[in-house]
């Protein structure tokens, strides 16, 4: 039994999506001349500004390409579904984003992405463009705390990219943008659960088997198995398990401020996200933490997977203004 999708041809899905995105958001995005899988903000990159280039596989929309625009990312390299883009579009994105002050690559920490973006960095070096890299590693379920740099990047991307994009928009130099990006990543914590599989447009078969009545805890955003499988539990218990883990990692003090994202992995509707958010807000209040910003919705998805993740960014005086900084992207706007 094939999964039901509104597509034309599985192999063409990413390119056709991109055409649709460019048609809908031509005021904000364009494709650099001659490029097939890179997009650049129409009014983002400018002389003397660090160019922020993000990228990754498709199927996570609005992550990644939806976060390109003034105040956030300058350009994006677009891969196949759940597949890192090759070096070529990353190079094209970087060239388009380059304002002479260097380029910062930011993407989730996956073996494939690292290999491809590293090849892109080498190619850029030959062009005389300095490209630094900050990997996002916010998924606390994906490796123990002492191996933070082995963790995956997931929905926390939204806040982490946003902080870096704001720093770049404020014309900070490359060293400083890089430092703030690392700082943002270090203070961002995510964990998710999956309740059903997604399916690739090419195969239209569930990516994995999840028996009814079970959920996958610590699931990645590509349907990679998580930490463990367990019985599906009530929303409050799920929120509690995640918040216990996040609060423990975060080590915040009463009175600290946070930004929160309750994210749908795809088909989990707003009703369920707000039920989760209600508990998250209670737990943060109990911990004496003030919610400075709350996002609830599908921000980092896995096609039509059911499930949700909770992200908390532990704000400080440096991060707070960056999170508040306005941005105007195709699929995300603030301020």
């Amino acid at each position: 039994m094939l999964t039901q999708k509104l597509i034309n041809d599985g192999d063409a899905a990413v390119d056709e999506m991109l055409e649709g995105v460019l048609a809908a958001h031509g005021d904000i995005l364009r494709r650099p001349e001659g490029s097939r899988r890179a997009v650049v903000a129409t009014d983002g990159p400018r002389e003397g500004k660090v160019g922020l280039v993000i990228g990754g596989g498709s199927g996570h929309e609005p992550t990644f390409l939806g976060f390109v625009g003034r105040g956030l990312a300058d350009a994006c390299a677009i891969g196949n579904v759940f597949a890192s883009p090759p070096p070529q579009p990353a190079v094209e994105a970087a060239m388009a984003a380059n304002g002479g002050a260097g380029v910062l690559f930011m993407y989730g920490n996956y073996a494939g992405d690292v290999m491809n973006f590293d090849m892109a960095s080498e190619m850029l070096e030959m062009e005389g463009i300095e490209a630094r890299t900050v990997l996002t590693t916010d998924d606390i379920a994906s490796a123990p705390r002492d191996q933070r740099d082995r963790r995956r990047g997931v929905a926390g991307n939204v806040f982490i990219f946003k902080a870096a994009g704001a720093a770049a928009d404020l014309m900070k130099p490359l060293d400083e943008v890089e430092r703030l990006a690392r700082h943002a990543n270090a203070r961002t914590f995510t964990m998710g659960v999956a309740l059903s599989a997604c399916s690739l447009p090419q195969t239209r078969r569930p990516n994995f088997d999840l028996p009814a009545g079970e959920m996958e805890i610590g699931m990645g955003i590509h349907g990679e198995p998580g930490v463990r499988r367990g019985p599906l539990r009530p929303a409050d218990e799920v929120a509690d398990e995640i918040m216990d883990a996040i609060l423990e990692e975060m080590g915040a003090s009463r009175g600290d401020r946070v930004a929160v994202l309750v994210n749908s992995l795809g088909s989990t509707p707003l009703m369920e996200l707000y039920i989760l958010y209600r508990r998250v807000a209670d737990r943060l209040a109990d911990a004496g933490l003030a919610i400075h910003k709350a996002l609830v919705g599908p921000y980092c998805t896995s096609l039509e997977m059911a499930g949700a993740s909770i992200t908390v960014m532990h704000l400080d005086d440096e991060l707070l203004p960056l999170i508040d900084h306005p941005c105007r992207c195709a699929m995300f706007r603030e301020g």
Binding site: G57, S84, P86, P87, Q88, A111, S142, T203
Partner: protein, 207 residues
């Protein structure tokens, strides 16, 4: 049967690789679904199709064609397989050299070169449950002596055995590494596809 492996033999090898990946796409995706993100079959088919197209579009030496395969594969795929196979093909291109044909008895070197490229790019160690666990033993077998067909048989068998052995490994690289013990009991999709590719190469080199 000539004793030379020519550019037109290379064209046919890539045809065979595409046919094989077409047949195995869904099975490889299923394997990847168990410990990864279920796209490995799609990536390998897309990559090999683009490589085949690039090889056919190139009128040049074995080296030219294999370099074209590398670029075609990489640009179509990205992912983990893209850089790994692109680097593998580039090393094979170098090993084949700027010739229209090479002695069949030297073709096992191409397999060893592929393995080197993959090891160089991915920095994996044998035993980490990656495609290298198929490529590395294949490369080792390729260095052996005896008649070509025997050597190629041993190469293909080594790759297959290596791939099978990944089921008993705990992943410590790539997507599956986050699974820890949960990856035990499931073969690595990249190693399984590698064994298929080695098998097709061995068949083509044999003539």
């Amino acid at each position: 049967m000539t004793t030379e492996f020519s550019t037109s033999d290379l064209d046919h090898l890539f045809d065979a690789l595409v046919t094989r990946m077409e047949a195995e796409r869904d099975a490889l995706c299923r394997l990847d679904g168990v410990i990864g993100d279920a796209d490995h079959g799609v990536a390998m088919l897309q990559g090999m199709s683009a490589a085949r197209d690039a090889v056919r579009a190139t009128n040049g030496t074995l080296q030219d064609k294999l370099n074209a395969a590398a670029k075609g594969f990489l640009n179509a795929v990205g992912a983990s397989s893209g850089p790994l196979y692109a680097t593998g093909f580039m090393r094979a291109a170098k090993a084949a050299g700027p010739r229209q044909a090479m002695p069949r008895k030297d073709t096992p070197l191409l397999i060893a070169a592929m393995a080197e490229g993959i090891a160089h790019r991915g920095k994996a160690m044998p035993g980490q449950k990656t495609m290298l666990d198929a490529w590395a033993p294949a490369a080792e077998a390729a260095g052996g002596d005896g008649p070509l067909t025997d050597r190629l048989d041993r190469v293909a068998a080594a790759a297959r055995k290596g791939a099978e052995a990944t089921a008993g490994m705990v992943a410590s690289l790539g997507r599956a590494a986050r699974l820890g013990e949960r990856s035990l009991g499931h073969p690595d999709p990249g190693a399984v596809s590698a064994a298929m590719i080695v098998e097709e190469m061995a068949r083509a080199f044999r003539g």
